[in-house]
Amino acid sequence: MMANTVEAKGQLTPDEQKRLTADMHRSLRRKKIRALLLVAPLLIFILVTFVSPIATMLFRSIDNPQVSEYMPNTTAALARWDADSNELPDEATYAALVTDLKVGRENHTIGKAATRLNYEKSQMRSLLTGTARKAGRLEPPFKEQLIKINDGWGDIDNWRVIKRESSPYTASYYIAAFDMETTPAGEIRMLPEQQRVYLQMLWRTVWMSLLITALTLLLGYPVSYLLASLPMGIANTLMILVLLPFWTSLLVRTSSWIAMLQGQGVINDILVWFGLVSDDNRLSMIYNATGTVITMTHILLPFMILPLYSVMKTIPPSYMRAARSLGATPFTAFVKVYLPQSVPGISAGAILVFILAIGYYITPALVGGQTGQFIGNMIAYHMQSSLNWGLAAALGVVLLALVLGIYALYSRLLGSNNQMSLR
């Protein structure tokens, strides 16, 4: 490379020019590789420990191996059957079913297929496991005997469900996540009003998150304004009151709100003491939606104040004074001059708080009771209690899509350089 130093007076020959460009390219490529090598360890680490787990979970929301894997003969036989024919499958299919039930019972796998089918149609589990218990004693021909054991085997709709779910991929978890169902005829329709759960839950999560965002803005805006306009020394001292909750464990703040808000808690005691509330009529402020909103507003308030403060710090106070000197009332001066300049802080804070709120799980679980649960709690319920992992994954995808959509909007609004720095 050093040999190519350009002589000040002489022109480069075409050959030298070519060599120089090649050298520069090589040097640039080397720098690129060096930068990539620095980033590579973390990038690989995140891809392996974080991105791929999430990708595999997302895959679970369409993955449907149970029926095709644990009832292979039935799956193959049903592929030849026309579900719209209004006729029961042939004897060969019944024979295949008996084989699958026998094998499934021996290997203890039939329960998995039965559970999967039960998500689609109740009583499918007992139909399969009940028949499997008797399948060992059966001799061909099977069709009549199976229908005698359980007349469910004479119901065309049951066969349609098995055929539909024998496909290795399914949209049924998403259909369930949007409170819809597939009719035996294959049509997708909304569930009856009283059975709808998830859309209502999603809607509640969104509007409670919006409410929490609005409350943090309402409380955070004046405080940030005060902090930005006070002299540095006092502002730094008051800032401790914002930063200390920010640095304190989420569980600590949640448990202290339990102590504050519960029936025999501090706030109720004070209200009773002042005579504002009678002793046997204490306010129920926790284990319901109110508890979730109050606690989460407190937990997320610093995430609103910090970005607001950092933007307001950059607005020169002389602008407001200039507006006043030109005859604006304090209100007009604020609305026309100060507020527009603080909009980047408002949007950064609001989107940060909203994104964090919408994915909350711990706080609603501890203080939310029945009415203060979020979609995250539903995901955890299906992960840990009902063990319907496909549905948990589908709900997770819906939540993730919502969060990423809002985040994309946010980075477009603010440019990719201002990403969520907490300070």
């Binding site: 720098k31 930068a35 990539l36 620095l38 980033v39 590579a40 360890p41 973390l42 990038l43 995140i46 420990t49 974080f50 787990p53 999430i54 990708a55 595999t56 997302l58 004046p222 405080v223 005060l226 540095m232 730094n236 009151l241 914002v242 200390l244 909750p245 640095w247 464990s249 989420l250 569980l251 600590v252 703040r253 949640t254 448990s255 339990i258 102590a259 504050m260 519960q262 025999q264 808690g265 308030l301 006043r324 994915g359 799980y361 711990i362 679980a365 501890l366 995250g376 995901i379 955890a380 992960m383 948990a392 997770g396 993730l400 985040y407 990719s416 969520m420 720095s421 907490l422 300070r423």
Partner: protein
Amino acid sequence: MALPSYAGPLETFWYYAFRVFCGMVFIFLISPLLIIIPLSFNVEPYFSFTEGMLALDPDAYSLRWYQEFFGSERWMNAIQNTFIVAVCSTILSMILGTLAALGLSRSELPFKGMIMGFLISPMIVPLIISAAGMFFFYSSMGISQSYLGLILAHTALGTPFVVITVTATLSGFDYNLVRAAASLGATPTYAFFKITVPLILTGVISGGLFALMTSVDEVVVAIFIAGAEQRTVPMQMWAGIREQISPTILAVATLLVCMSILLLSTVEYLRRRSETIRGITPH
């Protein structure tokens, strides 16, 4: 922000109303943290103030819940687990995050936006989704219910903070200093440890403290992928709040508040130090 001399009565009213409002917000922010401190010294097994406590009767206060905490094998075990996991994952986050930030701050890096997006994704994805994904994946790899799994998970969650703080520190970094060192004969390694590291150290440490706090406070992922043997302090608190609420939780909470005061002062000290180094002294 003093009240201007030309203010009328209405403006004076708003001025004081505004200050009172802000004062109430500050009380809202800090009172939950302060209220648990006296409650943790309650002699009764309640979450509320007894009459004796309000009358400042010394017999109404005790160290009973602290004794219970320090005498409990479960809690001590939880502290040990939290410590192991937090320290290991913080060190890993600091190393990986700093290296990546050094790469990200170079203008030659291709696909910068996309890479940055991946690196900070653990911060954006809701924890419950991360926890669900890690639960399946780590079980299939056979590292769920192990220290290794929990450490890897917490490292992934902590690195974005290191990447962001170190990248921010590097944005004010003068690369001419490294060039000067090279021109004086320093090898790249020597220049890195003698010039770059001391200047970005404050960023690395405060990013590390964020990562430490993330690990110490993290409960969602821990519930899903840690076993009974790896039970951390937040997991123990979570179980305690859900099952039987005893003021032991408040004693732990008080100790954790003290810890956050300590962490906060360290981070603030570091921030001011780095501003001084960069020549932006607070005034």
